[in-house]
Amino acid sequence: MKNPVRASLLVTCLVDLFYPEIGVAIVKLLRRLGVAVDFPPGQTCCGLPLFNSGYHEEAARVARRMIPIFSGSEHVVVPSGSCAWMIKKEYPGLVGDDPAVGSQARTMAERTHELSQFLVKVLGVTRLETDFRGRVTYHDSCHLLRGLGESQSPRTLLGGLPGVELVELPGADECCGFGGSFSVRFPEVSTSILDKKIANIEKTGAGCVVACDAGCLMQMSGGLSRKGSPVKSLHLAQILSGSDPS
């Protein structure tokens, strides 16, 4: 038997604190696919919220802590397009000149994969089994779509599930209005953008909207539940791994 693929989970702060069940789903899913998953201790956050608000020294400090944690990882799997983008696209520029972690940052950038990309592009998975049933629609997270140029992998995975009907979301590529601190700096504008997203989700008749970013999920589920909508919002990993693993 060939050596199993080894992957470290970078769980992200939002999943760690608010959505641990997403992390559990990923671990179960990856193990089912024969991946040896580890979870390096000492993780906090990738620093994106600091970076995007302009607090670059603070973000760099966080990055300098995170990078060594994953220095021994063959692959780093991240269940978030925005965090993966931060690590892949911004870490090298942020701490690249730092003699202690500069080269590690570049290595980490290369080895880091957003979950759907890891499944499709690294593991070569396109068809999975799940006991999840029903009609779902997919929302493109901005950083995954435009930051990492990925629109196909999540759709391939969802489309390949027996028992799951994937319907295209009108305006799937439009922002949900989250934008990190934007959502609390300008809550009215943020919610107004969200209302449009929710109207589009409801148009599809799907029972569930799927995304690959906990930020978008927090925003969309926040709006859906406030409106009393029966539509659920789930992370891709939760659909792929099937029955509620919590």
Binding site: Y19, N52, C142, H143, G179, G222
Partner: protein, 465 residues
């Protein structure tokens, strides 16, 4: 003018304007579709956008050279060149020309550069009547408002409002029919074109190699203004210069497609100085005002790429924030995501204290930009400067410093989570947080929040390992 601190309030007003909401949705959706269709049938578009970006960058690398060249060539063709370091100097140049040449009325074709220097107000104060001749701008001028979109200045007005406005201002009752209203404007403005002493335009491009100033319009007012009055003055930001006619063709191929989905705008006018001998029409005098007004500071600055901007408006149409609030809420000459950068460029960082954050950084703007300006990256850079220059509020800077400490320490991170779990207890209802105090209330005002999980993933990992 420091309009920006009240961005949030202006945005809230815009969100309550039901007509504006509908108009924005229809207009931006239409422009997005037109642009998309136009590039879909144009496989060479991607390559041309890369090339256009490279031309802009190459021009900036030798901007001094190209400015000298364009000036020399304009003068060779019999035109006059003026160098305006500031908005003030640009205005004074035009006012001086008006005084010396007895100009009483000036017709203008749509120009963001003259909006930027608030020329109309200055002309009026000096006793010169400025007439905006782009239909949208004409409507705005009659209504004493400001444009709300770079290429569709009056998208916030209904045809009923325009009919009332025209009926009042032109002393004749007009039906709320775009055809009728357009005909009324044609008749009224035709007289102005023929009477005016001066035509004032901006410039979409200036070709250094030939001294040609290029105007792109759909209505033909750009041609009128450069053909009929005896003096033509073009006001141009220094970043609009491009090296050659060959370069111009690259830009023409993508500009209208990005703005309105047209292959070319109806009129592209290449102005080569004043009327030549034997010509029936065209101005006796041609003046080109090359304006800096804060631009040169960014050649080596963080906003360099914003100097590539063609003012096509594509980034406005796709911006989720612009689409919700429209142009006026930004409170500045240039709205939308690119407008935030241009405002910072022209007025300094303090002017965008709030505006710099008026973006979810979704990246849709960069994706459609014909010259690939990385707007999100520059917004982040601006935010960084707001912190460094201590323009951001002290409370915010402190909060992010503390936040930074917490995220950099697993122990503090765990402690924070534990405290949060305790603090949220009284607020959890049916597994949701529906109303929270303080900053968190800004979220829960309109959305639910999931509570912090009873056990974090880090704690649950032990069970999985």
């Amino acid at each position: 003018m420091t309009a920006s601190p009240r961005f949030g309030e202006r945005a809230a007003v815009a969100l309550k304007d039901a007509f504006l909401q509908e108009a924005l949705e229809i207009a931006t959706t239409k422009f997005i579709g037109l642009r998309k269709d136009s590039f879909a049938g144009f496989p060479e578009g991607e390559g041309l956008r890369d090339q256009a970006r490279a031309i802009k960058e190459a021009t900036l690398q030798k901007l001094d050279h190209y400015l000298e060249q364009v000036a020399d060539n304009v003068e060779r063709l019999g035109g006059h060149v003026h160098w305006a370091a500031t908005a003030e100097e640009a205005r004074e140049t035009i006012l001086g020309l008006c005084r010396d040449r007895g100009v009483k009325m000036a017709v203008k074709s749509k120009s963001m550069a003259t909006e930027e220097i608030e020329l109309n107000e200055a002309l009026e104060r000096a006793g010169v009547t400025p007439i905006e001749t782009d239909l949208g701008e004409y409507i705005i001028q009659l209504a004493h408002e400001k444009p709300s979109h770079i290429i569709a200045p009056a998208i916030h007005k209904t045809k009923g409002q325009v009919a009332d406005l025209f009926s009042r201002e032109l002393n004749e009752r007009f039906a709320a029919d775009p055809e009728v209203l357009t005909a009324a404007a044609r008749k009224e403005l035709r007289q102005k074109f023929l009477q005016a002493d001066m035509g004032i335009t901006g410039a979409n491009f200036a070709v250094a190699d030939t001294g040609t100033v290029v105007l792109v319009t759909n209505e033909g007012n750009g041609r009128m203004v450069t053909s009929l009055p005896r003096i033509h003055v073009a006001v141009m930001g220094i970043e609009k210069v491009i090296p050659s006619m060959t370069d111009l063709m690259v830009f023409l191929a993508i500009l209208a497609r990005s703005a309105t989905g047209q292959k070319l705008s109806v009129y592209t006018t290449l102005v080569r100085g004043p009327r030549r001998s034997g010509e029936v029409d065209g101005p006796e005098e041609f003046h080109l005002i090359l304006m800096d007004n804060g631009r040169s500071r960014q050649i080596a600055g963080a906003l360099r790429e914003a100097l590539y901007c063609l003012r096509c408006g594509a980034c406005l149409n796709v911006c989720p924030v612009y689409r919700q609030i429209g142009g006026h809420a930004y409170g500045e000459t240039y709205p939308g995501p690119i407008g935030i950068l241009l405002t910072a460029m022209l007025k300094g960082d303090r002017a965008v204290k709030d505006l710099a954050h008026a973006s979810s950084l979704c990246g849709a703007c960069q994706e459609v930009c014909p010259v690939g300006i990385d707007i999100p990256r520059m917004l982040i850079a601006l935010r960084h400067r707001l912190d460094r220059e201590r323009i951001a509020p002290l409370g915010e800077r402190l909060m992010f410093r503390i936040f930074g400490r917490v995220l950099a320490s697993p122990a503090l991170f765990r402690l924070g989570a534990a405290l949060g779990r305790l603090a949220q207890r009284p607020f959890v209802r049916d597994g949701r947080l529906r109303s929270l105090p303080l900053l968190f209330g800004r979220w829960t005002r309109s959305r639910d929040l999931p509570p912090l999980a009873r056990r974090t993933f880090s704690e649950r990992w032990k069970d999985l390992a």
